[in-house]
């Protein structure tokens, strides 16, 4: 039952990524918390969602670009980590989420090609308002099923893989999560690169850095 609920969530959040609304509830931060809430571990969900959000801060659903699907990554990662309480569970689940986010991104590309064929068929058959509405209902339904299937397969594969390696994880939980920030730091650097680098707004960045360090120490 839990698998069904999480797969449905993966389907719904997959829709938010492109096809319906783009309210950004498909961002890893939100998707992670929602998946955690559904699985009864909201704080674990928030932790995994926040780490994945750091990694995917520079991944946006722009036009025809192929991007890792953050919602699939987060829901799969949270669902995979939930049954395992060992020190490596979060790190392994985040890694699984990053891999499965790429699979989700690839499935979005396939979905868009299928949409293209359906649109072509509509145009060949002669457009009508009923046909246009049916086209959208069909493409949205396919997108929902795509998200749900990709999520459920990811959860199955991830839980199997974690079952093999999690018990022998040699590092502490704190160190394992801390090490994940090394990769996340790359995303922060890329975001600053996109904004023109440090040189352009170095005073602002330095002021923020100092504020963050002081705030984290004393608040």
């Amino acid at each position: 039952m839990e698998l069904v609920r999480l797969s449905m969530l993966g389907g719904l959040l997959g829709l938010d990524g492109t096809a319906v609304g783009q309210f950004m509830i498909s961002r890893p931060l939100v998707a992670g918390w929602l998946a955690g809430w559904l699985a009864g571990v909201p704080e674990l969900g928030a932790t995994i969602g926040a780490i994945l959000e750091l990694y995917l801060l520079v991944s946006f659903p722009t036009g025809g670009a192929r991007f890792p699907e953050g919602s699939t990554a987060a829901v799969v990662a949270v669902a995979v980590a939930t049954p395992f309480g060992g020190p490596g569970a979060v790190a392994l689940a985040v890694a699984m989420g990053l891999v499965w986010g790429q699979v989700g991104g690839w499935s979005v590309t396939v979905q868009r090609r299928v949409n293209g064929r359906l649109v072509q068929r509509l145009l060949e058959m002669g457009s009508s308002s009923g046909g246009l509405i049916r086209l959208h209902l069909v493409t949205i339904l396919i997108d929902f099923l795509r998200g749900a299937v990709i999520t459920s397969v990811g959860i199955g594969v991830g839980r199997f893989a974690l079952g093999l390696v999690e018990a022998g994880w040699p590092l502490s939980k704190e160190f394992s999560v801390g090490a994940l920030y090394i990769g996340a730091a790359v995303s922060l650097g890329i975001l600053l690169h996109d904004l023109g680098g440090v040189r352009r707004r170095r005073v602002l960045f330095a002021a923020g850095l100092a504020l963050g360090i002081v705030g984290a120490r004393f608040l």
Binding site: F60, A95, S129, P170, I182, G189, L195, G212, A216
Partner: protein, 242 residues
Amino acid sequence: MRAGMLFRSLLIQGAWNYGTMLGPGFALTLLPVLRRVHAEDPAALASSIERHAEHFNAHPYLASVALGAVARMESDGADNETVRRFKTALRGPLGGLGDTLVWATWLPLVAVGALVLYWFGVPGWVATLTFVVVYNVGHLGLRAWGLRLGLEAGRDVGTRLTEADLGGWARRLQHLLVLGLGVLSGTILGAPDGLGSFGPVVAGLAVVGFVAGLVGGHRAWRPAAAVMVVVIALIGAWGILS
């Protein structure tokens, strides 16, 4: 009519594809207007649906500007070729402005803000809810504003869009984003259980990663993520073998 169009515009990417991109969603959103304009002529309705389902691309939120303007032009009886040329002229600026303002600025700004809250110890649900509410105030506000602007200005929407100075808004918000990025980096580095607490090696590696991203830009993302996944897999394998 306006509320109906706004609601339908949420589905503007419902049939997104590499050929016609937003085209089918554009036609779907415009459908109430087209039905009213061509109420007496089903053949003209079918033809107008086909024209609007052709290739169109823009940022999905700012497409509402084009939707409003085209709805006004169709209601005023503008000829097909004028409407087609108008859409072609508008799609580039709406795409560029939207990508800069929303994807490259507003989304990361609100996400960074929510992450700062989270790393400052605010409960996960509060950080998440803050992100969703603040982001969507901007998101839905932009869609509604764009639709109203388009409906009011019609074919003169270009001038009104220039006056709105969305590029200037993006630049101002980017100052705030850089500050937020600094705060987030400092928080992750300085928190009691943050990067600084794992010793100089881990903190140093994170600085190397940050610089790699800063220098390499988006080219650095996939290799960095792949390295993290491989390292985690190797540690897992090492744990089993030992």
